[in-house]
Amino acid sequence: MSGQNEDRQDQDKLAAAARRHAEEVSPKVAERLRAMRRVAASELEERPVKSVPGWLWPAGVAAAGVALTLALLLGEPDGYAPAPLLLADTDELAVVAELDVLEELEFLAWLEEEGPDDGEG
């Protein structure tokens, strides 16, 4: 218990000594710090407050509403056509479908030639 108290006292002494020392600067450095502080503080005073005027909010909301309405009303422009690539894709699909039909017809013809299944394997 006394060991903990000594530790505590040591830490307090250490902190007090460090705090005293942390405030020590030469007059030259102190002057430069003062100058820096003045520049920084004056910058805050010179900067305008970046707040949006009250009247601008309803105007902004109205403008956004008009833009949205126009976008919905106009929609897609007239004469809209799919891209040529899509047309080409459709043609290819049609050819494939025709091939399937042809294969099916060939299969049916072959089946007819083979005759009815007599069940003898």
Binding site: A18, R20, R32, R34, R38, R47
Partner: protein
């Protein structure tokens, strides 16, 4: 803002000087910290300024260390190429503070124990030094210190405990 900066500027300067071991670099860091605080957080409530200020300061000190380490790695092979004001992790001799680095006027004003304190704090590894200065000297809470150092509260306690042990050992003759 002027009053707040006046309260912290000297401690901030010494914190930076302990960290970077160069008066001019320390002044640059403090100036940059002040301007960043004003420009980014000047309109925030006053109660938020202190933790923000020290967070920016620690970030600048850490950046300075990183740049110095990169410079040392890049130019270390050139004789004298690595001699800058950064840290010297692998050179124990360089861990001893150079008396010529600190401002002669301020050094003359220091008595023996203050000089020993300065030397002991400067020789601490950066993270231990930051934890000690922010928590013990500046009086930030563990959480605020952790925020400023960008680490966990547990790490702060570990760094702080190690710093206290080292400083007690080094400074016991001066008490």
């Amino acid at each position: 803002m002027n009053t707040f900066l006046a309260e912290v500027e000297k401690r901030a300067f010494n914190m930076a000087r302990f960290g970077v071991r160069d008066t001019e670099d320390a002044l640059d860091i403090v100036q940059d910290t002040m301007l960043t605080l004003v420009r980014r957080y000047g309109r925030r409530p006053r109660a938020e300024w202190r933790p923000l200020f020290f967070r920016i300061l620690q970030s600048r000190i850490t950046d300075h260390h990183r740049r110095s380490t990169v410079r040392r790695k890049l130019f270390g092979w050139i004789p004298g190429g690595s001699r800058d004001s950064g840290t010297y992790d692998d050179d124990p001799v360089a861990e001893v503070m150079d008396p010529g680095v600190a401002d002669p006027a301020s050094r003359a004003a220091l008595d023996g124990s203050a000089a020993a304190m300065e030397q002991a704090v400067t020789a601490l590894p950066l993270r231990q030094q930051q934890a000690f200065l922010l928590r013990t000297v500046e009086g930030l809470s563990v959480e605020e210190t952790a925020q400023a150092m960008n680490c966990s509260s547990g790490s702060v306690k570990t760094h702080l405990s190690r710093a206290h042990t080292t400083l007690r050992t080094k400074l016991e003759d001066h008490w």
